[in-house]
């Protein structure tokens, strides 16, 4: 239903370019902003469904107005009456609320699909680790409460967390993606779990490995072999996705 409305409205925009009434949707504007490349577009009917907004009411003032503002249903007369400070507040609230709804949306079936497309396009960047071979990353928050920490990137290959390369991504709140997203994503699309590289680096001097580092690497390799043996013993197939790449 909402999609149909959106599509119609889009056509309207195309048809009447000179009318200022439908200049651009708030969500499209938000997504087009520099640094917002990690966000996917949340369906308007998901945003307007009250069930999905449970416990979000207290996060912003004038909750209903903010929701209306996000889905572009707020009357222009109300907007015109607002002071510039209030408008700025409304815009900030809308961004925050959209982020929090986004965190919920991306772990739904539809949201996961949209994020899958972004993951395939490597919109979240690629792992900087040499042996991960440019593995696409997934965004993740370390907290579900906004205002604590910024977004991090999870590499499904080395199972580690990285800081976004660009500073404009470093200012995005981690709560807008949530702590559960990569886990949900890889559970939903197990075929997206890459093979894990076994290769690693040990510093060498003129070809000779540094003893301490090499000893640790050997011990770590032993842990890996133990894990592999345990998993194979439980009848898990490690030749496909989620296995080790030797």
């Amino acid at each position: 239903m909402g999609d149909v409305e959106m599509a119609e409205a889009h056509e309207e925009v195309v048809d009447t370019t000179d009318s200022s009434e439908y200049v651009e949707f708030w969500i499209d504007l938000f997504l087009g902003r520099k640094g917002h490349e990690y966000f996917c577009d949340v369906d308007t009917d998901y945003i307007t469904d009250r069930f999905n907004l449970i416990n979000l009411q207290k996060t912003v003032n004038k909750f209903t107005q903010v929701i209306q503002y996000i889905v572009d249903e707020l009357d222009d007369t109300i907007l015109e009456q607002m002071s510039s400070a209030r408008l700025e507040q409304l815009e900030n609230d809308a961004r925050k609320l959209y982020g929090l709804i986004h965190a919920r949306y991306i772990i739904t079936v539809k949201g996961l699909q949209k994020m899958l497309q972004k993951y395939r396009d490597a919109d979240f960047g690629r792992c900087p680790r040499v042996y991960c071979n440019f593995q696409p990353l997934l965004p993740v928050g370390l907290h579900d409460i906004p205002g604590i920490d910024c977004v991090k990137l999870y590499c499904p290959c080395c199972e580690d967390l990285y800081i976004p390369k660009s500073s404009r991504h470093n200012s995005i709140d981690g709560a807008y993606f949530g702590t559960s997203f990569p886990g949900m994503f890889l559970q939903a699309f197990p075929e997206m779990v890459p093979k894990h590289p076994v290769k690693r680096y040990v510093p060498k001097i003129f070809g000779f490995e540094l003893h301490k580092q090499a000893q640790l690497a050997r011990w770590q390799e032993l842990q890996r072999q133990n894990l592999e043996e345990k998993l194979v013993g439980r009848g898990i197939d490690l030749s496909g996705y989620g296995g080790f790449k030797k």
């Binding site: 900087p128 680790r129 040499v130 042996y131 991090k152 999870y154 499904p156 290959c157 080395c158 199972e159 580690d160 967390l161 990285y162 800081i163 390369k165 702590t179 559960s180 990569p182 886990g183 949900m184 890889l186 559970q187 197990p190 779990v193 894990h196 690693r200 680096y201 040990v202 510093p203 060498k204 001097i205 003129f206 070809g207 540094l210 301490k212 580092q213 000893q215 640790l216 690497a217 050997r218 011990w219 770590q220 390799e221 032993l222 842990q223 890996r224 072999q225 133990n226 894990l227 043996e229 998993l231 439980r234 898990i236 496909g240 996705y241 989620g242 296995g243 080790f244």
Partner: protein, 249 residues
Amino acid sequence: MSEFIGDNSHTGSSDESGTYDEWIPSFCSRFGHEYFCQVPTEFIEDDFNMTGLAQEVPHYRKALDLVLDLEAMSDEEDPDNDQPVSRSIIEHAAEQLYGLVHARYILTKPGLQAMAEKFDHKEFGTCPRYYCAGMQMLPCGLHDSLGKNTVRLYCPSCQDLYIPQSSRHLCLEGAFWGTSFPGVFLKHFKELEDYVDRKAKETYDLRVFGFRINDEAPSGSRMRWLRQYPATEDEQREYEQCEFRIPSL
């Protein structure tokens, strides 16, 4: 042509020599060359330090003269060379030569000191891994010969290799830092290893609504070993057994 202009301004009037561009400082200050330190000309002038480089770099003499700002003189000394080589080829050879000398110089005491200064100023960048908390990295090559690999960055904290963040460092030749540099650096500055040992060793577990994912799932933990350190007594014993080889299971 430009060589002669450059030379004239150099020898013609001594007070103008301040404006004359010396090759090494201008090479090191070039955009994208932030990882290079300046090799003193005395080091390059010492033939001992240049052993074997004549075979690796084409137009070795001319390239060396260019690096040492002696270009015009060699033209006079080399009258039998009737085929003039284009300046860009010499320039390229000079860059290769400087890079290879640089790889040797940074393993010497003053070279390590110069690199330590750059390390302290985070000029090689910081580790992108979240739990390394902005540890400085060291440049490193995967091969000691030219044309094999570009430069990589070694993080002493997670002991892993990373690709430079900025695209301007992606095309730098790895052999210009060499394979031994991080190892020699770690062994020379022991306090760095001590600092890393004292650092908190945090790792990340994938969770869904606070619950860890079962090891048997395809997305279950498979790489924990990569960031693992012996913690319990049993693990410590196991670690000691790993001194020279991996004990058979």
